[in-house]
């Protein structure tokens, strides 16, 4: 045992020496480098893996079409396990080995942690998996963008839909006790009363809660027309849905982007039927005219999750920003890239989003309400594309 342990130690020491000495510097030609802290493992891996595919695919398409003014896009990334410390470590590793122009970050925590560093460096812009409303503030976070509507805007899209379909309806808010979950609560209540909707119940569930029976009792008592879940990926929404269905309530259930993947809901089965939610992009299988979707289906014949679309669109925005900055003849840095990004208006996404989009503030506030059909296992659109006014 002793011998093997010592051998192991030696191996570890050797590996350390190896990485310290041999950290290879990536070839720095004139390519444009996009870095990424991606959650390829851990609790957010399902999204991270899809995001990685989406981004890589779009960059491949862009490079095939000649890159940005002849310059190729290079995508370098590492796994973070969805831990902020790891994300920061990856950022430092990648930035010390590459001259990075744009970055993809995997969480709100990371975005906020690295924001001061971005400001100090001033050499790149960053998008990511976080739709946190707090980030949608160009004053506070000048080099960050959100590739879609922020969480307040997402819930806002749902509220507009409700007000349109069922004026004066009652709503319950169920949020997880996390930063992610609590993000839109306050603004949602204001917005709901402006739209003449009544918030009849607010529930905050502790993280990791499995047994929701007491929460269901409260919802049974307040009998809302709609329940909006936010701050969850899947669990415990299905348990809420099935218990409330058991009780014969005709409530509608709604969710936000990260709980809108159809493959997640397929595993839930019948109870998932009729689940509504906001989606900023098209689904892989959407049948409406969309050349970019055709291209994706050509590259990947099997279903790609929502995270793929998010990554694909993020890459698209980054490429467009870089293209515009280069066209302006500017040197690529945080300021030139961000002002190029902000100048995007009426941009045609090739059908990834159903209408031409514009960047407003740090976000792209467009979205559409979809409904899950348990029989087909797919999300089906139930509204037009909604663009939020300021």
């Amino acid at each position: 045992m002793n011998i093997t342990r010592r051998a192991g130690m030696a191996a570890l020491a050797g590996a350390t020496a190896l990485t310290m000495v041999g950290a290879p510097l990536a070839a720095q030609d004139d390519s444009i480098v996009v870095g990424g802290s991606l959650p390829l493992t851990g609790v957010f891996a399902f999204a991270g893996i899809a995001i990685e595919k989406g981004m890589s695919d779009y960059f491949e398409i862009a490079n095939e079409e000649g890159g940005i003014d002849g310059r190729q896009i290079e995508f370098v990334y590492e796994d973070t396990g969805y831990e902020v410390n790891q994300s920061v470590a990856v950022f430092n590793q990648l930035t010390s080995q590459n001259d990075i122009d744009m970055y993809y970050g995997d969480s709100t925590g990371f975005a906020k942690t690295i924001a001061p560093e971005l400001q100090r460096r001033g050499d790149m812009i960053m998008g990511g998996a976080s739709f946190a409303s707090e980030l949608n503030d160009p004053e506070e976070f000048p080099y960050i963008f959100i590739p879609g509507p922020d969480y307040i805007q997402q819930v806002g899209i749902l509220l507009e839909y409700i007000a349109d379909e069922n004026p004066g309806a009652s709503i319950a808010l169920v949020n997880s006790d996390t930063e992610f979950g609590r993000d839109p609560i306050e603004t949602t209540k204001e917005r709901a009363s402006e739209l003449g909707l009544e918030v009849v119940e607010e529930i905050i569930t502790p993280p990791g809660a499995a047994d929701v029976s007491t929460e269901v009792l409260r919802l049974r008592r307040s009998r809302p027309d709609y329940i909006i879940f936010h701050g969850y990926v899947l669990s415990p929404i299905p348990e809420f849905v099935s218990q409330i269905r058991e009780l014969g309530l005709d409530t509608q259930f709604m969710g936000t982007f990260w709980s809108m993947d159809s493959s997640l809901w397929q595993s839930v089965g019948e109870a998932a039927d009729g689940f509504l939610g906001v989606m900023p992009y098209r689904y892989y299988y959407d049948e409406e005219e969309a050349p970019m979707l055709d291209r994706i289906r050509e590259m990947r014949p099997e279903y790609q999750a929502t995270g793929y679309m998010q990554g694909f669109f993020s890459a698209m925005l980054m490429t467009e920003a870089a293209r515009r900055a280069v066209a302006n003849g500017a040197e690529l840095n945080g300021d030139t890239l961000k002002s190029a990004l902000s100048s995007i208006e009426e941009f045609d996404t090739g059908g990834i989003i159903g209408v031409p989009v514009s960047v407003k503030g740090n976000a792209v506030p467009f979205g559409r309400v979809y409904e899950f059909n348990a029989e087909s296992g797919q999300m089906e659109p139930v509204s037009d594309w909604i663009e939020l006014e300021d």
């Binding site: 045992m1 342990r5 010592r6 130690m9 570890l12 590996a15 350390t16 190896l18 990485t19 310290m20 950290a23 390829l40 493992t41 851990g42 891996a45 893996i49 590492e78 796994d79 396990g81 902020v84 410390n85 790891q86 920061v88 470590a89 430092n92 590793q93 930035t95 010390s96 080995q97 925590g109 906020k112 942690t113 924001a115 001061p116 560093e117 100090r120 946190a132 707090e134 006790d177 996390t178 930063e179 609590r182």
Partner: protein, 347 residues
């Protein structure tokens, strides 16, 4: 080769470093510490900063758990107290960073005293469990006391500044963190040259006979708690300046286990153990990443296995060291040292 360690005077024998090789090694180490920011890349500097913060916190925990025998699973929560204190002072009062960090340590120590109070009534496992409870309660406070902590969204803070120079890059932060680490480790080593350190060990080995020797148990247990939390508070304060944002998720329960693992792996009840363990545990995820990168040549999906493998390695290190090498890496280092000391006369 050194056979005897005869000393001319007792003071010389009481010194921290008693042999010539020890002094040589220490000199090399000090040179390496000073040279590091000039030779290491940004990435390795970041890891060095993180490792030193973990060294501080692990050394504190080692005083409490390794030397005094009181297991705590709340060390991360005390780091959070230090980090929030720094964030609050920096944001609201704009006081100098040295004062903020010190205040982080002091306030963490004060809360440590309160959490240590159950040691009045309970010991051993019950105390460990009480510290779990304390860390969950503190987490609740961090989420809900929004006036101070800014709740779930967390508190962001400006970099520490010295004479108008912002300590925002890792090569500068290194000069903030390294002196703290050196000073605190040196201080901990000093403690165990005096009656206070001896009293801690006595409480660990046999608390009842310690009492008969005139060691007031409660006072010393609380003192040990306060020291551990003070170290955690300082480490947390430095962490706040390193990451510049503090959220309730910054110091999860897992960090407490991480620190406990660090002192088990390094060696409980030795100063060197806290250092070795914290550095080793900080670098382990990076080493695993290298291993997984190498493995991905043979196993295509290796990257997706990294996180679970990390979790397993983490637990297996705790279990493995406790069963096979309870005295940790320190013992392995000792064996190597003994080997070379007698070399070439005995192998």
């Amino acid at each position: 080769m050194i056979i005897g360690t005869a000393k001319e005077s007792y003071p010389a024998d009481e010194a921290l470093l008693t042999t010539a090789p020890q002094r040589v090694w220490m000199t090399i180490f000090v040179i390496a510490l000073i040279a590091a920011p000039f030779v290491l890349s940004n990435y390795w500097l970041y890891l060095a900063c993180l490792a030193m913060i973990n060294v501080i916190s692990a050394t504190g925990l080692n005083v409490l758990t390794g030397y005094t025998g009181q297991v705590s699973l709340g060390q991360a929560a005390f780091m959070a107290v230090g980090a929030y204190t720094v964030a609050y002072l920096e944001r609201s009062l704009g006081t100098p960073f040295l004062l903020n960090i010190l205040a982080g340590g002091v306030i963490a120590a004060a809360i440590g005293l309160v959490v240590g109070l159950p040691s009045l009534r309970v010991k051993g496992l019950y105390l460990a469990i009480a510290t779990i409870a304390a860390s969950f309660i503190l987490h609740f406070v961090f989420v809900n006391w929004t006036a101070v902590t800014n709740g779930n969204s967390g508190a962001t803070l400006a970099p520490a500044t010295v004479f108008g120079i912002e300590l925002a890059t890792y090569d500068r932060l290194y000069w903030l963190i390294m002196p703290f680490a050196v000073l605190l480790v040196w201080g901990a080593a000093n403690l165990f040259r005096t009656r206070i350190g001896r009293a801690f060990i006595a409480i660990r080995d046999r608390d009842i006979s310690a009492e008969v020797l005139g060691i007031p148990l409660l006072r010393y247990k609380l003192m040990s708690f306060a020291i551990a939390s003070f170290y955690a508070g300082i480490a947390g304060g430095l962490w706040a300046y390193l990451f510049r944002v503090v959220t309730p998720e910054s110091f999860p329960f897992l960090t407490s286990i991480f620190l406990l693992a660090a002192i088990i792996v390094g060696g409980m009840g030795t100063i060197l153990g806290g250092i070795l363990g914290a550095v080793f545990m900080t670098l382990t995820p990076e080493l695993l990443r290298v291993v997984v990168d190498l493995a991905s040549v043979f196993v295509p999906d290796a990257a997706t296995l990294l996180s679970p493998v990390r979790t397993i390695v983490f637990g297996a290190l705790i279990v493995g060291f406790l069963i096979l090498e309870p005295r940790g890496l320190t013992e392995i280092v000792d064996r190597i040292r003994r080997f070379f000391r007698l070399w070439p006369f005995r192998t």
